[in-house]
């Protein structure tokens, strides 16, 4: 069972227990954040780098966390900002779709894909062709099942805008899957 956020925070904010608090924090959230990042950047190597940068930023800036949001929404916010920074330096909007071939050898080899594999890849291609903001919102809602209120804290965007963004993303994915069936 996961340690409550307040316990982890207390350990992190005490200089004596900061390191053990950090290890506990990472053990609790590393997989969640890794997959959030990986779904955006696709490449494992890039996701690994961004994940590490995210947690290093957390370690060095824990004093800046004032408890105005939940700890995990703060973590998601840092991870998402790092992904955005990565996107700015690497124009990956189209490349991410190509990266899917690197990450799924079956697709690259052009081999006959089983039905379930094929639909998974097509689904990811549909998501990767979304504008960046729609992709982030869709992933947070669909895969991480975050509430719009939590997403509001992560993305500093109103709930209404987030709902609309998710709706547009959903329709675009549906359209892509229909056209590429």
């Amino acid at each position: 069972m996961n340690q409550p956020e307040s316990d982890i925070l207390a350990l992190l904010q005490n200089p004596v227990t900061r390191d053990s608090g950090f290890l506990l924090l990472m053990n609790t959230y590393q997989k969640q954040l890794y997959w959030h990042i990986r779904r955006l950047v696709v490449s494992h190597e890039d996701a690994e780098d961004i994940l590490q940068e995210t947690f290093i930023l957390v370690y060095n800036n824990i004093g800046a966390f004032k408890g105005e949001s939940k700890l995990y929404t703060w973590l998601y916010r840092i991870a998402t900002n790092e992904c955005n920074r990565f996107f700015r330096h690497n124009n990956l909007r189209i490349k991410n779709v190509e990266l899917l071939s690197d990450e799924t050898p079956e697709l690259a080899a052009g081999s006959e894909l089983e039905g379930s594999e094929s639909i998974l890849i097509k689904f990811q291609q549909a998501i990767q062709q979304l504008p960046k903001k729609q992709k982030i919102v869709f992933n947070l809602r669909y895969y991480d099942e975050l509430s719009y209120e939590d997403m509001e804290q992560i993305l500093r965007t109103s709930v209404g805008t987030l709902r609309t963004t998710y709706h547009f993303a959903y329709e675009r994915i549906k359209k892509y899957l229909t056209e590429h069936d």
């Binding site: 590393q30 890794y34 494992h44 590490q52 060095n60 594999e117 809602r141 549906k174």
Partner: protein, 116 residues
Amino acid sequence: MIEQESTFSEIGKALPYSAPTYFFDGLPEKTLLVAKMRLEHRRKNKRLVRFVTLFASAAAVLVLVMVAPSTKRLDNRRSENVEAVLKDLSNDELTNMTVVYGSDMMEEEWSQEKTY
């Protein structure tokens, strides 16, 4: 339930790629080590910048102290040059200068020196 989920229910949440086996093992310890190394590196850089700033300030003060007496020597040399020029002027020329400037230039300069 997430709205509109039924349309993608057959797809679910699986991904067509995975993380390397054992990737997450030891990752927190490795990340902590890198975080501490970066922090130490930043602290060392800050100390270096502080040292260089102090050294530069001290050097600037030293230069100012050394230059200050020579400024006075420069002023003395300038007065000597003016003296040499005035010595060669005729009485008529000196009178004309007095009319134009309305006062004894040297007197003005001497009175300024006194205020120092």
